[in-house]
Point group: C2
Chain length 392, copies 2
């Protein structure tokens, strides 16, 4: 038989990240390609104890259908934490638990956008979000990402000229893939432009807690007095990625629609892990656990940067992240990145071509992304050394 697929799904390619999973199966490959948190970032001993307790005390509830909005106590705890740590959330906002931060992004696009509507994105940006938007047949407009955030002139130009712009999608903090953080000045400029052109903002902040140097900058959501910012977050990087528990905090009216969309998408997020996480938040010390993750990634990112300055050509550009999982390498102009990535794969080092994160997937890549959270310190040195050899 021949199958006809929808216009919206047809152009979406399986992401490069998918291919990476296959690479990760080969234990002899040094992978800088994934986006996985280190295993040490999951509080395994606490999860063991809390899991046994939960099944002892509340198995019936933890295994049964539950509410679409999420486990009520967890919602309150996450709201309180956002308020305390990031000054996020007001009376006009509500919070829903989602199946990872990815679902918050997907459902935001679904409830806000008709096919053909425009979403303005940082270029490059998170491929999971770009593909989610593509799978609703949206018009993606990229704004170049500089070392301190989007090019504001380009952003204003896009807002002026593009039709039906529904929201600006940004990862202002430890951006994926570039690892840069949008400056306070540019954060204010983005908020001001959104107000002036009356568009919403989707602020994706999956790495919020993982700052290992420098000082916190206010989130866009914390500057939001009008109900213009939708905030997506996750526990994937600080508790467990495999459990798929994220959240979306947004104006009540938006959340009400996201609840409807989530109900027909997956009814609710795994309730066992919602309850387990809630028990963790009330009985354990998440903040001190986070400090251990920060210390770990501080060490790993430093090791990678050191190895880069030791082994890579002096004329490359590299971002110096203050948090998150990634850094971004731009070799000298004219380097054939895709050929480089292939050659590295043959030498059993996996990196991701910048092309994967571009709004226009067909223009040639200028950079590649390196992840430092997964590999050991030894593998970081070994792998970067190989990159250096291949680049020379």
């Amino acid at each position: 038989m021949e199958y006809n697929f929808s216009d919206k799904i047809n152009p979406v390619k399986p992401s490069a990240i998918r291919e990476i999973f296959k690479v990760l199966q080969d234990k002899s490959v040094i992978s800088f390609a994934g986006g996985n948190p280190a295993e040490e970032s999951f509080p395994i001993e606490d999860i063991k104890r809390l899991s046994a307790e939960l099944l002892e005390k509340s198995a019936g509830q933890a295994l049964q259908y539950s509410q679409t909005e999420g486990y009520p106590l967890l919602r309150e705890q996450v709201k309180a934490r956002l308020k305390e740590k990031f000054s996020i959330g007001s009376e006009q906002d509500e919070l829903i638990i989602t199946s990872g931060g990815q679902q918050a992004i997907d459902l935001t696009a679904k409830v806000l956008c008709n096919e053909g509507d425009t979403v303005i994105c940082e270029n490059p940006s998170f491929i999971g979000a770009l593909n989610a938007f593509r799978a609703y047949n949206l018009n993606l407009v990229g704004v170049d990402l500089e070392n301190d955030g989007m090019n504001i002139e380009q952003l204003e130009n896009a807002l002026k000229t593009e039709k039906n712009v529904r929201f600006i999608y940004v990862i202002p903090t430890f951006q994926n893939p570039m690892g840069i953080t949008t400056s306070l000045e540019k954060r204010r400029a983005i908020m001001e432009l959104a107000r002036r052109y009356n568009v919403l903002i989707l602020e994706d902040n999956p790495y919020a807690d993982i700052r290992f140097s420098g000082h916190d900058l206010p989130t866009l959501k914390s500057m939001d007095t009008e109900g213009r910012v939708i905030y997506a977050g996750t526990f994937s990087k600080i508790f467990s990625a495999g459990m798929r528990v994220g959240f979306c905090l947004a104006p009540k009216e938006v959340i009400a629609k996201i609840v409807v969309a989530k109900q027909v998408n997956d009814v609710h997020t795994n309730i066992f892990f919602q309850m387990l996480l809630s028990n963790y938040l009330s009985s354990c010390d998440l903040d001190s656990h986070i400090l251990t993750i920060r210390a770990l990634y501080a060490k790993k990112s430093s090791a990678m940067l050191e190895a880069i300055s030791k082994y890579l050509p002096g004329d490359i550009e590299v971002t110096r992240p203050e948090g998150g999982l990634f850094l971004w390498v731009t070799p000298r102009e004219g380097t054939d990145i895709d050929a480089l990535v292939k050659e590295l794969a043959a030498r059993k080092v996996a990196v991701v071509t910048g092309k994967a994160f571009q709004i226009d997937e067909n223009s040639p890549a200028k950079s590649f992304r390196l992840n430092y959270s997964m590999p050991t310190l030894e593998k970081i040195e070994e792998g970067v050394k190989i990159i250096g050899e291949v680049m020379k």
Copy 2:
């Protein structure tokens, strides 16, 4: 601020089932309204043991990101089980693990349908599916459901006259809400019409294992020689509803697109429970566990039917399910069902108006749905007695 939502999400109302969760919070209410399996249908002791073992042996993997397609061993086990128990699956098929059966339905619609395309549904049908279709702006065409399945004449007429019919959505076995099973003759007729008019079929079979009387009929998928049937299933009714693990078995080409759609939707389904379920399937006896569920629901459904014949007016019609969770009561013509449902709620008995399951949500209801899996035998008698009092 004023928010503009997408044309596809705007018309979708929060389902009546949502309201039911609130009712379920009030412990003094006798609820025949939910669709929850009995707590006894979750093998809690096995889950306790397997959970501890899994966290002891494979915590890192069980808490980490995983593949979109699902845990490889679980996929093989589910495929083998479908083959063995239901003669489902061929070389041309593939299987993906989904976040509940709901996600299989949602993503099938997403990959197959453009806005405005037609889906033919049983009328009445499962509200979660109807709303999933509505949330992609699809044209829903209802075909009256009779006691042995869809009205075949109406089905053919719809196939003849409707434009861009992409698939027929059916729950042939222990249908929700009616509790009826499509006869073998009608199963064959549906397959034949799908072939003749070259449309696909989405067979939703969440209650597959819960037959407590009569004999199994072949699934539509088992009759499928052409790759025309997409089959959605779940472990919600026999293992845990709260873990959100379902699956979709379909022609490889369709699954490939569903994988892309799932990746941007929630990346993958909770891997901890995929692995736990896989370990359960290899080390425990699911079939003997299912026998206990069947015995329980046989008792509960009989108790409800007995109470109905004892307390309800003699001129009602009621379906006599051979499996599943629901039966369907049609009072004498002219009964104001919505008023009846309201009066019952005031008497602390919750039932769902047939209106919730209609393709046309505005035409008056003629029936209401009763669930027997959740309430105890005592509450079944007590609640049906109250329904009888209110109806008289």
